[in-house]
């Protein structure tokens, strides 16, 4: 709790990442890496991908001779930008747009889709020291890009010196602005609000309601392009401290927030989750190391294959033909052909069709009945029919499910002889993933989703891992219809 208060008191950057609505999800769906190149003894948080790097907040010392602190002696946060190196990792952080602030906290930030408008949190009073009894609340501001400079700093019209407004996040289409506030009338210490852009003017803030907000604190909203809202909260049910949660807007209501699995969440504070477009990688902040807020990257260990074999349906149906008889004028034949399919069923005819119940070895035989004498010549021909399943991973699931309902997917019927299966990876086609033999999934929105199942073997003696992938579509219908 103390840590949360610190976050709120300063400037909190919250990113949330690609959350799967899964039960049965195994650990290790994501790999988390500490970004040591830009994380030191200071607190670093709220990474946002901008161009070819990340923009984040830090209270590090930017000047060896000057430490910026507030009246309580707490170091102030500034914005920093760290470009990606050749490996795609942020390095060499430097101050970003120092003209945006003088003696105040700044951050977290959010960038418009075109990159020309910066939404940022900052103390309402910048540079003019106020007395200890006059707290300098947080507010939201915007700045416009002008070449390499940022100018036209404009305060958000709903800023108020009586309470804090912070953690702005503007949707990709620019129509919605999410932020957090401890304004009166909220449900908890900090709630998430949203304003709608009405012809260039922001509407009155609206609370996201009890589905999202709780008596605890909800901060760092991040609306991913997939439609999922990620935020951090210290509400009960998490793994400790701040955790990252996700919810989707379905039919006008937010679904029940789900807690991200480890290793993204941990017993420490985990927050500020920011995912890239595909949802399979991004950044977040955590104080899991040495109680400092550091920036971590995450990447899904489950890669969506660009081309995946479509799941083939096993067919146990066959056509049986007596080839020699086909050459004859069977309509006038003095004989009758009787098939014994080896599973207790029989049929009559030169050709016959039969569907077996499943794989197996069947002794198919053919009797020929002499229609003149009535005599039966047994087993005039036989055929050992071995039926095996198609060698493929198998996604067992219904073809359709309603939005909001739990869909159970099972890979137990996978048939890959000779392959020692180590893991089952699921990619649900909505930028969510899971691992496990059986997983469950809730789709918030209707539509057709292409699900991939990737089966991976344990490394062989040469260290080679074999992977096989299949996919199939699941139709998610409108809930209640």
């Amino acid at each position: 709790m103390r840590k949360l208060i610190i976050h709120i008191a300063t400037v909190l950057l919250a990113l949330t990442g690609p959350v799967t609505l899964l039960s049965g999800q195994a650990k290790g769906t994501f790999e988390v890496t500490h970004i040591s190149k830009i994380s030191g003894s200071s607190d670093d948080m709220a990474p946002v991908i901008m161009n070819d790097g990340i923009l984040f907040c830090s209270n590090r010392k930017s000047n060896p001779f000057l430490t910026k602190k507030n009246l309580e002696g707490v170091r102030l946060y500034d914005l920093y930008y760290a470009p990606f190196n050749e490996e795609g990792k942020p390095v060499s952080a430097s101050r970003f747009a120092p003209g945006l602030v003088k003696d105040a906290n700044i951050g977290p930030v959010s960038l418009s889709a075109d990159g020309n408008t910066l939404y940022f949190t900052r103390n309402l009073s910048d540079g003019s020291r106020q007395g200890r009894r006059q707290p300098n609340k947080l507010g939201i501001f915007t700045a416009k890009r002008s070449g390499s400079q940022w100018s036209e700093i404009t305060p958000f019209e709903f800023n108020n010196p009586e309470y804090n407004l912070s953690y702005p996040f503007v949707s990709a289409d620019g129509n919605y602005l999410f932020f957090c506030s401890d304004m009166p009338g909220g449900m908890g210490r900090y709630d998430i609000y949203m304003c709608e852009n009405l012809d260039g003017t922001w509407s009155e803030p609206v609370s996201l309601g009890p589905e999202i907000n709780s008596s605890a604190a909800e901060i760092h909203p991040f609306l991913h392009s997939s439609g999922r809202l990620y935020f951090a909260s210290d509400r009960p049910g998490g793994k400790g401290g701040l955790d990252i949660w996700s919810s989707s807007l379905a039919f006008g209501s937010w679904t029940k927030p789900l807690n991200l699995e480890e290793p993204i969440n941990s017993p420490s504070d985990d927050f500020a989750f920011y995912a890239a477009q595909g949802g399979m990688q991004g950044f977040f902040a955590s104080n899991r190391r040495n109680f400092n807020d550091d920036i971590y990257s995450f990447a899904s260990t489950i890669i969506r294959w660009s081309s995946c074999d479509t799941l083939q349906k096993n067919s146990y149906c066959y056509e049986f033909i007596e080839e020699n008889a086909l050459k004859q004028d069977t309509l006038r034949s003095g004989s009758r052909w009787e098939w014994n399919f080896g599973d207790g069923t029989r049929a009559v005819g030169i050709t016959a069709e039969h569907c077996y119940a499943g794989p197996g070895i069947y002794d198919v035989s053919l009797d020929i009945v002499n229609l003149i004498t009535g005599g039966i010549e047994k087993r005039q021909a036989s055929y050992e029919l071995e039926i095996t399943d198609i060698e493929q991973p198998v996604i067992a699931a219904p073809d359709t499910v309603r939005a909001g309902e739990t869909l159970v997917l099972n890979a137990g019927a996978t048939y890959l002889p000779g392959m020692k299966i180590d893991r089952y990876y699921w990619n649900f086609g909505d930028e969510t993933v899971a691992t496990g033999l059986e997983v469950s999934k809730v789709y918030a929105l209707p539509g057709r989703y292409n699900i991939q199942l990737i089966v991976s073997s344990a490394p062989d003696a040469g260290g080679v891992v074999r992977e096989v992938c299949v996919c199939r579509d699941i139709e998610v219908s409108v809930n209640g219809n």
Binding site: G334, I368, A381
Partner: protein, 329 residues
């Protein structure tokens, strides 16, 4: 009859016959399940008894390497007694003639289906005429000994060929009989690799109304055969006639009525070339057609007569079903 067309295939046949059953020289053969050969006396020219021409010709083929004397034996050669068919009173005389030498087989009129022209070609080696003779009723009469070299050596067959003709020269009774080619005069001892064949088979059906009594005759299908035409006479609609081969199961053909011929055509499949067909004759169930005497011949698309071998060339053809399994999507 175009003998030349059959030369090559006959050569193969003879070789194949060497592997046939050792008692192959019995006529009818054991695989044929035919009780008797049959020839009626020609008096009155009445064919409604089942004999269209009152004559039957058979050929015996002996391997060229066989040098020992041999005998041709006739079972129940006389006319009268238990097995023969009485017409009012016994008045029939039956003449058996055995020919060898040049032309006994290759003469164009020797190997037809009608006793016309010089069908008795070759050198007459022996002949005897039988009437009613109780001493030979249901007993064997032996012709010979014969020297294999007295046959017509046919190089392409690598065989010496002899011909035996049974003519009903007088009377109108039916003669039921059998032949055997033997090493010995007093018992039937087969000659390895020998065979017997005819181009028109005249025989007696079993006196039984059980369909399990099936008689067989085995025409050989030579190369170049596209389709065949079977002819049968005076079957009295007694049952069913079907064809079995290595690739055909009970293909039905027509059976004739009383004192008439009937013809059926049947295409030949590639797998049947160079093998024997199995002509099956099933007796009619129920009402018994008694003493049914019948005649059968078969021609190819050129009108060439095809031989019936007492020991089927290549063995009795066995239909072999072939199963193909196709997965369905």
């Amino acid at each position: 009859m175009r003998v030349t067309r059959l030369i090559l295939s006959m050569f193969i046949m003879i070789l194949a016959a060497a592997h046939a059953r050792v008692n192959a020289q019995e006529v009818p053969g054991p695989d044929e399940n035919i009780p008797f050969l049959m020839t009626f006396g020609k008096e009155g020219g009445v064919t409604s008894w089942g004999d269209d021409d009152f004559s039957q010709t058979f050929f015996f083929a002996l391997p060229k390497d066989y040098k020992d004397p041999f005998y041709i034996r006739v079972y129940d050669p006389e006319i009268g007694g238990k097995t023969d068919e009485l017409n009012n009173f016994w008045n029939t005389r039956m003449m058996y003639s055995i020919y060898g030498g040049k032309g006994c087989y290759t003469h164009p009129e020797a190997n037809g289906i009608n006793p016309r022209g010089n069908y008795k070609s070759g050198t007459l080696l022996a002949t005897r005429t039988f009437g009613m003779d109780n001493k030979l009723d249901e007993r064997w009469f032996t012709f010979g000994p014969f020297n294999p070299a007295d046959g017509e050596y046919y190089p392409k067959f690598q065989s010496n060929i002899f011909k035996i003709i049974c003519d009903g020269i007088a009377g109108d009774d039916g003669n039921m009989y059998r032949y055997a080619l033997s090493r010995r005069p007093d018992t039937n001892v087969p000659i390895d690799g020998a065979n017997a064949f005819t181009y028109e088979y005249t025989f007696r059906m079993w006196n039984n109304n059980d369909t399990s009594f099936v008689s067989h005759i085995y025409p050989f299908i030579d190369s170049g055969c596209v389709w065949i035409q079977t002819r049968n006479f005076d079957w009295d609609n007694d049952g069913d006639f079907t064809v079995v081969s290595v690739s055909r199961k009970n293909h039905p053909l027509k059976l004739s009525g009383d004192d008439v011929w009937i013809e059926s055509q049947m295409p030949i499949m590639e797998e049947e070339i160079g093998k024997s067909l199995d002509f099956r004759f099933y007796k009619k169930r129920g009402e018994l057609v008694k003493n049914n005497n019948v005649v059968v011949s078969v021609q190819n698309q050129y009108g060439e007569n095809l031989p019936f071998f007492s020991a089927p060339i290549g063995g009795v053809p066995v239909y072999k079903p072939r199963i193909k399994v196709i997965p369905k999507k």
